[in-house]
């Protein structure tokens, strides 16, 4: 199974005119730098990555021809610990997207206070059109190039868009072969039993809901009376829907990309969606079968319909740039909370509108930090070669996410900041402090 079910949404995203994720990330950072009154050295250091690797991976294809693939690794900042971040396979990958995501990883690790820095990698390729053998060659080629610059105490990769545990194992195997060691802590997102952590699959989605649960308390809402609309039906969305239902809430829609129609749809059922039922009619790319969904009582709506649902909570859990200046006004007046399960789903223009409307936002790098937190747990377990029970993993995850949420919420309240700004303030301050203590500026 590919790591995201909403790859098609990204196609739309990447094609969106004028949107540059890195510029958005820098703009967000500049705003926080002003709040923190950072000096020029700190700004100059943190608004760009510390290191970037751009390289070419030659692969002999199944038809015997050799094809070149473009690969990247961006290491934004490692003042607080080894870089951490996924490797994405996508035909429309750009280095600016990777740079932005690497920077967000730095803030994400910092805001949940785990001792890791930020990084991200990618390869421009379309796994849909590649055999397993070809994908394996890309993975091994990526590692051959980067072997000296990644590792359990340098830079720890993980799965991301269209990469999965099997890719991580190929990469781990190549890394261990090159170095002649066993180093399961080099990479995370491995299958359980092969160095993977129990609870990793659920971690991001559950983490989103842990923060939502705390936010609902602050808003004076009971989960049992809450209705939510979800964008996406990938790993994050599936588990977020599950836990949201388990704490008493009702999910009325999810959306997914239809590979055949090359567009997304929203699947709505007013008496609540059932993730297990939908999974039973989902293809290997994460697309939900429309006809079967209709038979199960779902309405099939346009892809963007999720945003205008009458709900208390919106969970954008697909990809970046989904809540924009163009569609933010379609958000229903009932909505009190937006929990950003995806990375960068809200543009700065949309953010302004959310602020004006008093909609509470749990920012992406806080809300979806459950994944990297569990990756950190996986790394710890691998380095000890001792693996925890699922109870232990999820118990730790809950308290970690809750503590992080409460810290951001306290900061927002005390400093009268928007939640996103408060999260940035905490995260950036920690990184700046680490850099200063190291004497970097």
């Amino acid at each position: 199974m590919i790591a995201t079910s909403s790859a098609g949404v990204q196609k739309q995203t990447a094609k969106a005119k004028g949107f540059n994720a890195f510029e958005m990330a820098q703009s967000q950072f500049d705003h926080v730098a002003d709040i923190l009154k950072l000096d020029d050295a700190a700004r100059d250091f943190l608004r760009v990555p510390m290191r970037e690797f751009h390289f070419t991976i030659p692969v002999r294809m199944d038809d015997g021809k050799v094809k070149m693939f473009r690969g990247f690794r961006v290491q934004h900042n490692d003042a607080r610990g080894p870089n951490k971040g996924g490797i994405r396979f996508h035909p429309h990958e750009t280095v600016d997207t990777v740079r932005a995501l690497a920077m967000w990883m730095t803030w994400k690790c910092s805001v949940v206070d785990i001792p890791l820095g930020g990084g991200k990698g990618g390869v421009i390729c379309d796994p849909h059109n590649l055999s397993d053998r070809e994908q394996e060659q890309i993975c091994r080629g990526w590692i051959r190039t980067m072997a000296r610059n990644v590792g359990p105490v340098q830079d720890v990769p993980a799965p991301d868009v269209m990469t999965a545990p099997k890719h991580m194992l190929w990469m781990l195997d190549e890394y261990e072969t090159i170095h002649g060691v066993k180093a399961p802590g080099f990479i995370t997102g491995k299958p359980v039993g092969m160095g993977g952590s129990l609870g990793r699959t659920e971690a991001t989605g559950y983490g989103v809901v842990f923060t939502v649960r705390e936010a609902l308390k602050e808003l004076g809402l009971k989960p049992s009376g809450c209705v939510a609309a979800f964008q996406g039906f990938g790993n994050v969305s599936q588990y977020a829907v599950r836990l949201f239902r388990q704490i008493g809430g009702k999910a009325i829609c999810v959306s997914s990309w239809d590979q055949k129609d090359q567009k997304s749809y929203t699947f709505r059922r007013q008496d609540g969606v059932d993730p297990d039922q939908l999974l039973g009619i989902t293809d290997r790319f994460g697309g939900i079968d429309k006809n079967k969904a209709k038979d199960l009582g779902y309405e099939i709506l346009p892809g963007e319909a999720w945003i205008e649902q009458e709900a208390d909570v919106l969970f954008p859990c697909a990809l970046e740039n989904q809540v924009t200046g163009a569609n933010v006004k379609r958000i229903h007046k009932r909505v009190r909370l937006v929990a950003e399960g995806a990375n960068g789903p809200t543009t700065p223009e949309a953010d302004v509108v959310l602020k004006e409307r008093g909609i509470f936002v749990i920012p992406d790098f806080l809300a979806n930090a459950g994944g990297v937190s569990c990756s950190y747990f996986e790394q710890v377990q691998c380095n000890m070669n001792y693996f925890w029970e699922k109870d232990e993993v999820l118990g730790k995850l809950d308290t970690l996410m809750t503590s992080a949420y409460l810290a951001v919420s306290d900061c927002a309240r005390k400093q009268k900041l928007f939640m996103r700004d408060a999260a940035y303030v905490i995260a950036v301050r920690r990184v700046v402090d680490a850099c200063r203590q190291r004497g970097w500026f």
Binding site: Q246, L394, T399, T402
Partner: protein, 598 residues
């Protein structure tokens, strides 16, 4: 009501159904430092035990101010309850129902439960709790059926104490989650299943809440325990001197209450006559029949990892350790062999007898007044006879003592008028009789008798006997045949040397039970104390027959009856005519008469 059942007329319990969770504040991830000391996790019911405590807490707050005139602080120890919806989520998501309801061994069930994952929405709260708490916790069952008005379950499910003193949060968290799963699993242990079957309740509809509660006590080196624990009932079948059943009974033991709950050697007395002489022939006899050891939570070297064992983290300690800890002085007397006398307190060398004389005779602590007050308040709150459980730590220096109120539940007490004349208790028509019987009513129609063979009985074989009896019990229950059970020593004793260590589930098909003595098993009989609730709520007649007393079992007659099945140690006979069982609860007289052929 079946003819074989002793007819009991029970008063409404008055406790009400399991409290809806909304009444109880939500756990806010602060245990000792929170605004609320009684909280819940989850949105389902909180179960019978927790409901009783919730009610107790209110009553105590109204009637017992901080360290009032009694010199005690009386309170429900800090607790949080995991509501039943989370139990259901645990069972459903891990697919445990089929295995749990099947006739699997306890170990297999416990193992499957340990491997299962607790609901994600519970884990963060448990983790947060354990991060801040470093002292022992009791993880207790609080099932829906424990709230049953007519038949309140008692001692059916397991409780687990955890020391919770490890430096690592992970280790403490693991201990807590294992304990919660163990308590969940105990709902499906064989004895619990038998019990529920005998109570004609549906296991499928039973749901478990779990109480996580502070253990009342203090640390003494590697041991953590209260100075003493106790159970008190506002109605007692235990008779001594002038005491009447309505005067009630209290049972006290040094250390954790497990000694009392398990029916171990503990100090029983009537709260109306706390200083009355105990019914022992001599001080030497008393010495033999008082507590010799006590239970404590093990705070020392970690034990072998065994999450399936209730006593994993418990220590059974000799009295000498309590003396070294300084906790024996207020609960013991010293034996003087020369005068064959017991002197309250510790006076030089000499055997110690835990008879609570310094407190009950010398009034070193106004405990008895407090117990009587608590019983009265609890009985008033529930509108009927009650049982309470508590644990006490003495204050250091001028500090007041603290009484942790652990449980309050209604007592099912019969009020049918049954007269057992002295003449009925003697003669060839009598199979057995007793002047210290428990229960009240008449049962007819019992045609089966299961008895431990007196010629084969040895104290060292009591464990084996218990296991064999459980098999006979299961067969008779399946055939829906009520029976009379006769054995030696204290039924349900945790000490195999004092009697047969069965749990109630292993004998719950019996409609009348006799405990007898032999010259080689000449112990102080339990008088049903261990199974008190079960006996009273199931309407079972309970007879104590001493071999050297005024009544006896007609073993010769039993030997002549038709044998249905037998093992080396146990025999099951079927009678041509049904027995008649009569118990007069007011006088404690009871008789089992042989049937007369038509």
């Amino acid at each position: 009501m079946p003819a074989a059942r002793l007819v009991l007329i029970r008063k409404a319990a008055g406790l009400g159904g399991s409290r809806p969770a909304e009444e109880v504040p939500r756990f806010d991830r602060r245990f000792f430092d929170g605004r609320e000391r009684f909280t819940r996790i989850g949105g389902g019911a909180i179960g019978g035990k927790a409901a009783g405590l919730w009610r107790s807490r209110r009553v105590l707050a109204e009637r017992f101010q901080d360290a009032d005139a009694s010199g005690f602080i009386v309170e429900v120890p800090t607790l949080t309850v995991i509501a039943t919806d989370l139990f259901e989520a645990f069972m459903d998501r891990n697919g445990l129902w089929d295995l749990a309801l099947a006739e699997e061994s306890d170990d297999r069930i416990a193992d499957a439960f340990q491997k299962a994952s607790l609901p994600a929405e519970l884990l963060g709260d448990l983790r947060a709790l354990i991060e801040k708490v470093h002292q022992p916790l009791a993880v207790r069952s609080s099932s829906r059926l424990e709230d049953d008005r007519a038949r309140p379950f008692a001692g059916v499910y397991e409780t687990k104490m955890i020391p919770n003193n490890q430096a690592e949060v992970d280790a403490r968290f693991r201990g807590l989650t294992e304990a919660v799963k163990f308590v969940y699993a105990s709902m499906f242990f064989r004895s619990a299943k038998n019990y529920i079957r005998a109570a004609r309740r549906s296991l499928r509809r039973e749901r478990m809440a779990v109480i996580i509660q502070e253990v009342v006590g203090r640390r003494h080196g590697e041991r953590f325990y209260p100075d003493f624990s106790g159970v008190a009932r506002s109605f007692g079948y235990y008779r001594s001197g002038n005491a009447l059943p309505e005067d009630g009974v209290a049972i006290l033991a040094l250390g954790l209450g497990k000694t009392v709950v398990d029916g171990g050697l503990a100090w029983s007395y009537c709260p109306a006559y706390p200083a009355a002489s105990a019914p022992f022939a001599s001080a030497r006899a008393q010495l033999k029949r008082t507590q010799l050891d006590f239970w404590a939570v093990n705070m020392g070297k970690p034990p072998a990892h065994d999450p399936m064992r209730e006593t994993e983290y418990l220590l059974r300690c000799p009295l000498s350790e309590a003396e070294a800890d300084g906790t024996l002085a207020c609960v013991a007397s010293t034996y003087d062999a020369q005068s064959d006398r017991l002197t309250p307190g510790l006076h030089g060398p000499g055997p110690r007898a835990v008879n609570f004389a310094p407190i009950l005779v010398y009034d070193a602590l106004p405990l008895n007044d407090l117990v009587r007050r608590l019983l009265a308040v609890a009985a008033e709150a529930l509108g009927q006879k009650v049982e309470i459980e508590f644990a006490v730590t003495l204050g250091e220096g001028a500090a007041p003592a603290r009484l942790g109120f652990l449980q309050m539940r209604p007592l099912a007490v019969a009020d049918e008028f049954v007269d057992v004349a002295g003449s009925e208790m003697r003669g060839p028509g009598v199979l057995l009789a007793s002047d210290s019987a428990m229960g009240n009513g008449v049962a007819k129609g019992i045609r089966d008798v299961v008895y431990v063979r007196p010629d084969r009985f040895e104290a060292r074989l009591t464990g084996r006997i218990g296991a064999e009896l459980a098999r006979f019990n299961a067969g008779l229950m399946a055939a829906k045949r009520p029976y009379l059970l006769i054995g030696f020593g204290r039924w349900g004793s945790s000490d195999p040397g004092l009697g047969i260590p069965v749990d109630w589930g292993g004998i719950c098909g019996a409609r009348a039970i006799a405990e007898a003595t032999l010259p080689d098993m000449n112990v102080d009989l339990s008088q049903g104390s261990h199974f008190f609730h079960n006996i009273s709520s199931f309407g079972v007649g309970y007879f104590c027959v001493r071999h050297d007393g005024g009544f006896a079992v007609d073993w010769a007659w039993l030997e002549r009856q038709r044998v249905v099945a037998q093992t080396e140690l146990v025999r099951h006979v079927r009678l041509g005519s049904p027995l008649v069982v009569k118990v007069d609860g007011r006088t404690g007289r009871g008789v089992v008469r042989k049937g007369v052929r038509a």
